[in-house]
């Protein structure tokens, strides 16, 4: 398997879909394209491309019947369902990867603290049934696991506010400034990407903001209606926070002990330095927020620019040392 060229994912996915499709269509003469596409979780175009291939397929060899399936653009007709034979039309068992993908995801979703209890129970029942039906194929699913993190009480309030379309009041902790701010937000949706976030219209900053639930110190559902402006939902599959091109640039040099910075902070470049260090260039709308990072790095790194950020870290450290009755060593 090693060294295998790029997998023809589409051909495999399409084949497995078409195998299920013939079973499904056999039971439903005149099925509507829109309904079938929805049931299979595919676009109508994808379904139509399957319907182009199916008439080229058949079970028998040496000149047997091909599947006579066609569509008028709205409904799907199969004129010779007998061509498939009674047996070849039965639903197929789950493959190991299919069982793993579905079971691992289902188990992960049941760990979401904010899931409604009735939904969690339904998912647990479904998971048990799929495990049984998958049989041996379910075995490998134990080798993959996912835990979502989210704060149960906060999650439940946000979820309720969204479904009842009500505004929220939160006290929110901002680690960059080590401060708690009060805000009213109109929640739009909950997103779990490692941590759980609520995407909302923040009425204080009059902008779309993403709030991490474990940083919500306090939450209340207000009586006011939630009225977020119509905004386009972003694809959150990439990083939730993307620096903008016009944000100020910060340069940090770290030793080997500070290389983790490149893993946690999206950056423009990370050049290797002699001795195992890195010179990391990144952009942030608020360079002052990186003072915490400079302090955390201690001897493992320093801010090169902007100079005032470096100064602010130095003076914060000197101020802290004063409390220990230990004078800071003079700069060299």
């Amino acid at each position: 398997m090693a060294g295998k060229p790029v997998r023809p994912v589409n051909a495999i996915d399409q084949t497995r879909r078409m195998l299920s499709l013939v079973t499904y269509l056999r039971e439903r003469p005149g099925a509507r394209i829109a309904d079938v596409a929805r049931a299979f979780g595919i676009t109508e175009d994808e379904l139509v491309s399957d319907l182009d291939v199916l008439p080229m397929c058949g079970t028998s060899f040496r000149g047997g019947d091909l599947l006579d399936i066609d569509t008028d653009g709205e409904r799907i007709w199969w004129h010779n369902p007998a061509a498939l034979g009674e047996e070849a039309a039965e639903p197929l068992r789950l493959a190991a990867d299919e069982a793993t993908a579905l079971l691992v995801a289902a188990r992960a979703v049941t760990t979401l603290p904010g899931l409604r209890e009735s939904d969690r129970q339904a998912l647990l029942r479904a998971t048990a049934k799929v495990e049984t039906a998958a049989g041996e194929a379910a075995g490998a699913s134990a080798r993959l696991s996912v835990t979502f993190e989210s704060e149960g009480g906060v999650f439940a309030d946000v979820d309720r506010a969204i479904s009842e379309r009500r505004r929220l009041w939160i006290r929110y902790y901002s680690p960059a400034r080590d401060e708690i701010t009060e805000r009213e937000i109109d929640p739009i949706r909950l997103v779990s990407v490692g941590h759980t976030y609520v995407e909302a219209w923040c009425r204080r900053s009059e902008a779309r903001r993403t709030f991490r639930l474990d940083r919500v110190a306090e939450i209340k559902i207000l009586d006011d209606p939630s009225t977020p402006p119509e905004i386009e939902l972003r694809d959150l599959s990439e990083a939730l926070v993307q620096p903008a091109a016009e944000d100020p640039e910060v340069v940090i040099e770290v030793g080997p002990g500070g290389r983790w910075v490149a893993e946690y902070y999206p950056h423009d470049s990370a050049e290797e330095l002699p001795g195992g260090g890195l010179r990391i260039t990144l952009r942030t709308p608020d360079p002052a927020s990186l003072r915490r990072l400079a302090l955390r790095l201690g001897g493992d790194g320093r801010i090169v620019s902007p100079p005032d950020l470096a100064d602010s870290a130095r003076s914060a450290a000197a101020g802290a040392l004063a409390a220990y009755d230990t004078p800071a060593e003079p700069s060299r």
Binding site: M1, L94, A122, R125, L144
Partner: protein, 327 residues
């Protein structure tokens, strides 16, 4: 025009599923248009090059069909000729009945993967269940929940490691430890992958170190190579990735520390405190759990935190502050 691969795979699958007796390679080659076509493109069917090309294609196609779950048997008849078939008994989905609520719950779960292979496999599973009568048209999540769970997979090492865990095959990869400049080769028998706080980790047996190790996938550099077959060390029944990672993150505190914190500052420290006492002059005193990494975290709060005890933590924090003050 070359015949689409999906059409070829579909015909092979239907032939193997539709037959009651094993079909020989020759019969399959003659009856599937795509194989006939491929022979014509390459030249004469008697040509050994064409035979080899067909054989390679046929083997790959069988592998692909097995990948999507088809159980294909290889049977030898009395004349010693090899034949293939996919028996209904071994390929039929056992009866499964799911109600509308259960169906909707699975529908939500099938959408969470952000990795192509697993996303495809999850929809494939749902489609098979759909063909077996999984109820449709009810989607309570769309109606009343705004929850959108997503499982992120950004690491290139994920897919090869997932397959190696599945097939229990040893792997070789270059791994850069958190504090190391250069990656080092690691020889690992991979047991399980776990996603925690949005990052993927691998647990397995490190052959060179002769012990269990946990690896963070984002620190794997270069390609993951599969090395031979078979594990040499026993696989434990329970693999505990999370405990190990929590230890790295300093979340397995075994002691406690006393600190002074300026009023209003350091909310996350307050949230973890086991005791808080108000002092004079705008300060509070907190008892907090003391585990690995606490010193670096406390330094982040600059002049708003003063460590009272233990002396060891106090000294570590002072050292770090001095390093920053020196710039």
């Amino acid at each position: 025009m070359a015949i689409a691969k999906a059409e070829r795979l579909m015909n092979l699958a239907l032939c193997l599923l539709g037959t009651r007796r094993p079909l020989s390679k020759r019969e399959l080659r003659d009856s599937i248009e795509a194989y006939v076509e491929a022979g014509r493109v390459t030249g004469s069917r008697l040509d050994t090059a064409a035979d080899e090309a067909f054989n390679r294609m046929f083997e790959r196609d069988k592998d692909d069909l097995r990948e999507l779950g088809l159980v294909i048997e290889t049977v030898e008849n009395i004349d010693g000729e090899v034949g293939y078939l996919a028996r209904r008994d071994s390929n039929r989905l056992p009866p499964i009945t799911l109600d509308a609520e259960e169906a909707a719950a699975l529908g939500l779960a099938a959408k969470v993967w952000q990795q192509a292979r697993l996303a495809g496999a999850a929809s494939g599973a749902l489609q098979k269940l759909r063909a077996a009568g999984l109820p449709e048209d009810v989607d309570p999540y769309e109606a009343h929940s705004a929850l959108e769970p997503r499982i992120p997979v950004h690491e290139a090492a994920f897919e090869p490691l997932m397959l190696a865990c599945r097939d229990r095959r040893p792997v070789l990869f270059d791994y850069r430890k958190a504090t190391a400049a250069r990656p080092e080769p690691r020889n690992v028998e991979p047991w399980a992958l776990e996603c925690w706080r949005g990052h993927w980790y691998l647990a397995g047996y490190d052959r060179d170190r002769g012990a269990e190790r946990v690896f963070r996938l984002s620190r794997i550099t270069g390609r993951v190579r599969v090395r031979g077959t078979g594990f040499t060390a026993p696989v434990p029944d329970v693999v505990t990735v999370r405990e190990t990672v929590a230890g790295w993150a300093g979340e397995t505190a075994d002691r406690s520390a006393r600190i002074r914190l300026r009023s209003g500052a350091g909310y996350p420290l307050r949230a973890r405190a086991t005791a808080v006492r108000e002092l004079d002059g705008g300060w509070d005193e907190l008892e907090i759990p003391y585990g690995h990494g606490l010193d670096a975290w406390l330094v982040e709060f600059g002049p708003d935190v003063v460590v009272v005890e233990p002396a060891e933590l106090r000294a570590d924090v002072v050292d770090r502050l001095r390093a920053v003050a020196r710039g």
